[in-house]
């Protein structure tokens, strides 16, 4: 089962839930793979402390123009939807930051003057973290293209067992890339006005991608009642409420797992998994 842990807004505790869930399930002898798809700010490793045994660079193809073959016909520039290649009469300029790597320019060039060369966008690293198989992507600083790196992380999805994908925050292409072929999306939300607003956006995105989903309320406090009416109205089950607890915040700050300091946490994670499995079936 592939479970993506996502949130519209950052900092709702998505990584806390994802890492603790992974370890709690591994303790019950489930085969668990943890994939950190938040490649702009990968933090799962802080809590899981993996021993990285493999590292691979990930690159995207970008065009390179052979000046001697190029006749300045301008077809490439007309084709490119992202202005990543521009023909200026006597020179062709490429802007690899803008390139989506579609391969179109080399396809339309009548003179065979464009070839594709790899440009490194980041690394995928993996290795064991106790009983959990750990995989993470790490975006190179200054690189903008996130989806190809997430795709590379996802080539490590196991055929069987449980995969937990820690998604990036937000609602745009990196999130969609992460959750695309998940069996279930768990949306971690905070009971605050910002939290409600961003949960709404996240729900719209997950609904577009058409994946079964439910909500986990993190840092629930007796006063905060913002999320329940909304979830009831749109018919999204709330699978778990984790109370606001300074101990959890402090454990997180130190980079430790909550299941080690808050005894009830492991039980919550087990119950959560059971409910997700149930929801994914119905």
């Amino acid at each position: 089962m592939r479970i993506a842990i996502a949130s519209g807004k950052g900092g709702t505790g998505k990584t806390i839930v994802a890492t603790n869930l992974a370890v709690a399930l591994a303790q019950d002898d489930h085969p668990v793979t943890f994939l950190d798809c938040d490649v702009e700010a990968p933090n799962g490793h802080i809590f899981l402390k993996p021993e990285i045994t493999h590292c691979e660079t990930v690159s995207v193809p970008v065009p390179e123009v052979n000046e001697t073959l190029c006749t300045r016909c301008g077809r490439c520039g007309e084709f490119c939807q992202y202005s990543a290649v521009v023909c200026l009469g006597n020179a062709v300029l490429t802007f690899s930051d803008l390139c989506h790597g579609c391969g179109g320019c080399s396809l339309v060039c009548p003179d065979g003057a464009i070839r594709e060369v790899p440009r490194v966008v980041g690394e995928v690293e993996w290795g064991p973290a106790g009983a959990v198989r750990f995989v993470q992507g790490r975006l190179r600083i200054g690189q903008a293209r996130v989806p190809p790196l997430i795709r590379a992380v996802k080539t490590h999805l196991p055929q069987t067992g449980i995969a937990i994908l820690d998604a990036p925050p937000g609602t745009s292409c990196p999130v969609v890339e992460t959750i695309r072929d998940a069996d279930f999306v768990l949306l971690v939300a905070e009971p605050t006005p910002f939290g409600l607003h961003d949960l709404r956006l996240a729900v719209e995105t997950v609904r577009q991608v058409k994946i079964p989903h439910a909500v986990l309320i993190n840092r629930a406090n007796p006063g905060g009642r913002e999320l329940r009416p909304y979830c009831d109205r749109v018919g999204i089950p709330i699978l778990l409420e984790i109370p606001e607890d300074r101990r959890i915040a402090e454990t997180y700050a130190r980079g430790e797992l909550a299941i080690r300091t808050v005894p009830a946490y492991a039980g919550w994670m087990r119950a959560l998994f059971g409910r997700m499995r149930h929801e994914a079936l119905v």
């Binding site: 938040d38 579609c102 975006l139 925050p169 609602t171 745009s172 006005p193 980079g255």
Partner: protein
Amino acid sequence: MKEIVVLSGKGGTGKTSLVACLAALADRKVLADCDVDAADLHLVLAPRMLQREEFRGGKQAYILPDRCAACGECAVYCRFDAVRFDGPATQVVGKTYRVDPIACEGCGVCVHVCPAQAVELAPAVSGEWYVSETRHGPLVHARLGPAGENSGKLVTIVRNGARDIAEARSLDLVIVDGAPGIGCPVIASMAGASMVLGVAEATLSGKHDIERLAGLAVHFGIPMLVCINKADLNAEVTAAMNGWCRMRGISVVGSIPYDRRFSEAQAQGKSLLELGDGVTARAVRALWRETRTALESRR
């Protein structure tokens, strides 16, 4: 005119709550909410919308089923795995193809390779942007459609909109609330700015995030300031962050304690400063004084 971009490397560090405070403190400025994925600033600033524009982020391919000969060329060439089998069988062909609008990046390769001219590109509306008036001055903000593409482009539009207003009204400052992460929308909100203010949370992951953000600021040659939020959550991490910044020549311009009144203020649609004075409010004012001095000392 100067432009300061408030970023965090990761969401949820309290960035927007602090921007709301800076909005109350700074004079003669325009606000730009460039966290277009999850724009929250308007929840505090209660904007009165003056202008609303459509954002077309890119294009989208469509396959005309009656023309499709089901040769599958498009599926071979699409690098984004966006062409899928679909469609009812007709008398002529057993199947047709379909473009998955969520995966499609609108590159047009399928249009080019289709021998039956069955694919067309059409502009996709993927959001809106707005110019509004608030109690703390003009605000430019946006909303990216669900599963939207090209958030970087929308960020650039919002920033330019804010700069135009600043210029037209001879205002001195643009305060940008940026997106989380270090990818395309962040690069789009940072490039060419006068200064980055990084809001870091005093946690081990917060430290990692701010270090990566600092790397990005160096990459683009933009001076950076740091504000440590929830500084009393973990004294060790706060000390380590201070040390790291000192080593890199980054000034730490503020230390804000963990304060639940930030959530209270949010619930009331206010900035923390509007809740009255206190230790945290004083720390926020000090943060703004330091930031302003640093901004003024540049050029």
